[in-house]
Symmetry: C2
Subunit: 259 residues, 2 copies
Amino acid sequence: MTRRILITIEYDGTNYSGWQVQENGPSIQEEIEKALFKAEKRTISITGAGRTDAGVHARGQCANFDTESKIPVEKYPFVLNALLPHDISVSKALEVPLGFSARFCAESKIYTYRIYNRRQPNALKSRFFHHVPMPLDIDKMRLCADFIVGEHDFTAFSAAGGTHKSPVRKVYSIDIVKDGDDILISVFGSGFLYNMVRIIAGTLIAAGLDKISPNIVEQAFITNDRRLLGATAPAKGLELTKVNYSPKDLQEEHNVRIP
Amino acid sequence: MTRRILITIEYDGTNYSGWQVQENGPSIQEEIEKALFKAEKRTISITGAGRTDAGVHARGQCANFDTESKIPVEKYPFVLNALLPHDISVSKALEVPLGFSARFCAESKIYTYRIYNRRQPNALKSRFFHHVPMPLDIDKMRLCADFIVGEHDFTAFSAAGGTHKSPVRKVYSIDIVKDGDDILISVFGSGFLYNMVRIIAGTLIAAGLDKISPNIVEQAFITNDRRLLGATAPAKGLELTKVNYSPKDLQEEHNVRIP
């Protein structure tokens, strides 16, 4: 009997070339597929909710795969964590309907971008934070974020190389929290173009450093001119925090399945 | 003119054999001395407030060195951070009297021990946290901590290999804070024997797992029997958070110095 399993994955992306299998280094997807091969003695492909770039981290990446095994679904985190390297872990596993797709059923995502803002670098934060040595004006960052929130053509906020049909996305909210030297930017949206969150972070940083005016964003939406915005912020500050699915899509259809 | 400089240091100890220069791998002390050699073109020895073991981290390690250079004291963090690897950083530098010693003037220290307490390991915490998969009873941990606080002969809480004259130490406080899956233990004391904080952490964990009775500590103080207590908790959960000096010891004696 084929079952489809949805797993939630955490990773420290520092030592990986990204989510997707690549020529130039080990990928997260590859490591999980290797662990599944060891567990089930057959080749299993997984589908992630979205790709993450080299160096990007995740607290709530999601992926699904199909299995013929008899491993109870709740045992998958134990089985996989015993086989995965220390910088990748599986926090949850759930059986989902065979029609479910971690990628296409994703309704919204939350990303977190982490900055630490003090003159000197900090060895304890170098893996998960982007260091900005000059003081950031949080009020200006928030003002700029207000212009980004909403449904827009985000072409100006995307890097070349994306393969999206439509550049229109909806950003529901951007929360900016300061805690000592740390600044956490939480971006909640329907979906994101290639590099979109890192360009949002870089634009908020540029606004916070007074290098651009917060309302330049309005002009970028009209002209689609990437150059009006801030630089793409470094990968290591970015984390895919959560992928949201509708309970309906996740629901098991035990009642209609013929064993 | 000789000046004595006190620096505050942060490090991710994962890739080091500890603070002290060792045969079996790079040490923090060595990396800082190498950076000083590059900056000043002469060999400079540094004195740390205390040694930390392989894998132990620091947010507030302190060390002093003497210099004949003309580098303004406030420039040392910039100079050293430009030369140090990413997992070591200098947050502060201060000129101190020539009689000052980071080691002997240390009046008290704060260590933090980090645990995360959930069934599955977490890739994002594997560097700085010790994973305890079974549920910990925080109330029992706090009860046990109350028995440890105070002035005692801490022989039972020390590993062989220490070279201390007296095993009497004063623990001023142990605070245990739970934040989601994270448990942070903050230990504030006059000084610590070899492995003492890791044995305190291991004992609190054993009490929290109901493997030992919280008041067994009283018996350990009487019998000096290390075996009554919990296992030495892993190095990676430990951080030297702060070293306290008296303002009097730190004070510059510019008025008595003859230039």
